[in-house]
């Protein structure tokens, strides 16, 4: 498997070029976010001094509200979805009773229902429930969207908790709830984190549902707010503050990525499986 130094050098060369080109949009975004309009046109490719920190102040004034709305929507959706998914997954993993297999098949079936099919009737249901214009509409669709994979991932995980540990806990006189709290939950932390990150990604990135259910701009989430912000600022070619806004919108996911790289990657890959 060992390649010759010359071949390895060529591979490194090719990879560095590919990596650099992959990052170009984001490097350009970061670079430009510190430029005034004049600096943008004068030194398009180069770093320009002095850096315009004011762009970030300007951008924050435009999107700060959307940013916090997205934080709230994401946290609430992740918390409820994780709760619903984990208790259901525990029940599926722990007990078999007449009909439980059919119920689980019903969960798997949801993976075959595409979001474009349910989009319109789900909107009508949300409207009939009087949820249009509220973040509760988003919680509802995000929970429905993410709890299914949560149940599947967590059921598999709970099933792999060693039986000996559960028995030992029972011998020590621990009841079922105590066993869940002291044995199962700590062991399941990586799996719970994977599901949480998967849900966070889809909530933070979603554009369509807020567009449909939130007419009031004060309720808007970050994806929706960024589009409006872009339309205003690109119109006057104010790329500096606009890209500063893009950088701000990217910060939460980057923090998660560097804090939990392994779970982030597994959250990313497992999130793709749903139709």
């Amino acid at each position: 498997m060992s390649a010759s130094p010359a071949r390895r050098g060529a591979a490194h060369g090719a990879l560095v070029v590919l990596a650099f080109m992959s990052l170009v949009p984001f490097l350009f975004m970061l670079l430009t976010s510190f430029k005034s309009n004049e600096q943008f046109y004068h030194s398009y490719y180069a770093f320009a001094l002095p850096p315009q920190w004011g762009n970030y102040v300007d951008a924050w004034a435009q999107i700060g509200g959307y940013f916090f709305n997205s934080i709230t929507v994401t946290l609430v959706s992740v918390a409820i979805s994780l709760l619903f998914a984990s208790i259901a997954a525990y029940a599926f993993a722990r007990y078999r009773f007449p009909g439980s297999g059919a119920l689980y098949a019903g969960v798997l079936l949801v993976l075959l229902i595409p979001g474009t099919l349910t989009l319109i009737p789900a909107f009508v249901i949300l409207r009939d429930l009087g949820l249009i214009g509220t973040h509760r509409a988003l919680y509802a669709v995000y929970i429905a969207d993410s709890e299914v994979l949560g149940i599947i991932i967590l059921k598999t995980f709970f099933g792999s908790v060693p039986e000996e540990l559960m028995e030992a806990a029972a011998l020590d006189g621990a009841g079922e709830l105590q066993t869940i709290r002291h044995i199962v939950t700590p062991l399941a932390r990586p799996a719970l984190l994977t599901v949480a990150i998967m849900t966070t990604l889809s909530c933070w990135n979603d554009y369509l549902w807020p567009l449909i259910v939130l007419p009031d701009t004060r309720k808007w989430t970050i994806s929706l707010g960024l589009v409006a912000f872009r339309d205003r600022y690109a119109g006057m070619s104010a790329w500096g503050p606009l890209f500063a806004g893009f950088v701000i919108a990217s910060i939460p996911l980057f923090i998660l990525f560097f804090a939990f790289m392994r779970q982030f990657v597994s959250g990313l890959t497992s999130g793709a499986v749903k139709a």
Partner: protein
């Protein structure tokens, strides 16, 4: 943990049902019933408010002769073909390069760098590409002018000939795909790392390198991840019309219109909810057929191993 079999009347079964209930209530309200409702209402002329008028298969008949639907279908076919090719080839190339560096030699650094485009919020990625394609200030035209190719510069997203290709070409150099099917490189790398080392040693003995080693040894081990990425890319490209919506609104004219966006327009633009449901059912049938085809191919790939 072991699964315990209990009777339906036991307290454990009752507790389990209660634990499953919240998740199911949400699914019933926002997955099962909308799916059934979409199929049912595709048979109606419906504005989303009244109960609508039953029209049988009229919506589907109209779909077949709708020029916008025909153009959208052609567009999505092209779009899917290009994106699937890109999503299969370039991540595979990068995975091959990284894998043959050998363990330790910067492998994880490259992996992390190629993950970055997936960590950036989707909307930021889309809006950055909208900027890159911008006619006046965009990076692409600027680079072309720098290279002395001013004649090639254009309004990439605004041109009838270029809009669809510009959207399809998003994410250059395509090592990391856009959105949710973007991690192909990680899957291929994991596939390559799962090949037993003795097989590579045998390759060295046989003098098989490069393309021969790839075709005879590596490709069979990669058939499953390749199949998965292909399916996910097709499903995702077929369904997610937000990139088109943000970059071109389907325009100019209907030059980059896709079925998903047409569905959205029909419902929320023209109040043709019944017609939109019919488009949804048509798209869902294609998706389910693809998923079934995938399970067939997948089990065959498994047998071939």
């Amino acid at each position: 943990m072991k699964t315990r079999t209990v009777t339906l009347s036991s307290p454990e079964a009752l507790a389990s049902l209660l634990m499953i209930l919240p998740a199911f209530a949400v699914l019933a309200l926002f997955r099962y019933s909308p799916a059934i409702s979409a199929i049912w209402h595709s048979l109606f002329s419906w504005d989303g408010f009244t109960s609508g008028e039953f029209v049988g298969m009229d919506n589907y008949r109209k779909l077949l002769s709708d020029p916008v639907m025909a153009a959208s279908s052609l567009n999505i076919g092209q779009y899917i073909a290009i994106r699937t090719t890109l999503n299969l080839l370039f991540p595979l190339l990068a995975a091959e390069l990284i894998f043959h560096l050998g363990p330790g030699r910067g492998q994880s650094a490259y992996k992390a760098i190629f993950c970055v485009p997936l960590v950036v919020p989707l909307m930021v990625v889309l809006l950055m590409w909208k900027f890159i394609y911008d006619a006046h200030d965009g990076l692409l035209n600027s680079l072309l002018r720098l290279a002395g190719l001013s004649g090639v510069t254009r309004d990439w997203l605004g041109g009838f000939d270029s809009a669809l290709y510009a959207i399809s070409g998003l994410g250059f150099p395509w090592v990391t795909g856009i959105g949710i099917a973007g991690f192909g490189m990680l899957l291929y790398l994991a596939g390559l790392q799962g090949i037993p080392g003795e097989l590579f040693d045998a390759c060295v003995m046989d003098g098989a390198r490069g393309m021969r080693r790839f075709l005879s040894l590596e490709l069979p081990f990669l058939s499953r991840p390749l199949l998965l990425v292909a399916l996910l890319t097709i499903i995702n490209t077929l369904q997610s019309f937000v990139p088109v919506m943000v970059l071109t609104q389907g325009g100019p004219g209907i030059a980059s219109m896709v079925p998903g966006l047409y569905l959205y327009r029909n419902a929320f633009g023209y109040d043709h909810f019944g017609y939109a449901c019919a488009i949804g059912v048509l798209m869902a049938s294609v998706l389910v057929a693809l998923a079934l085809l995938y399970t067939r191919l997948e089990s065959r790939a498994e047998e071939a191993r």
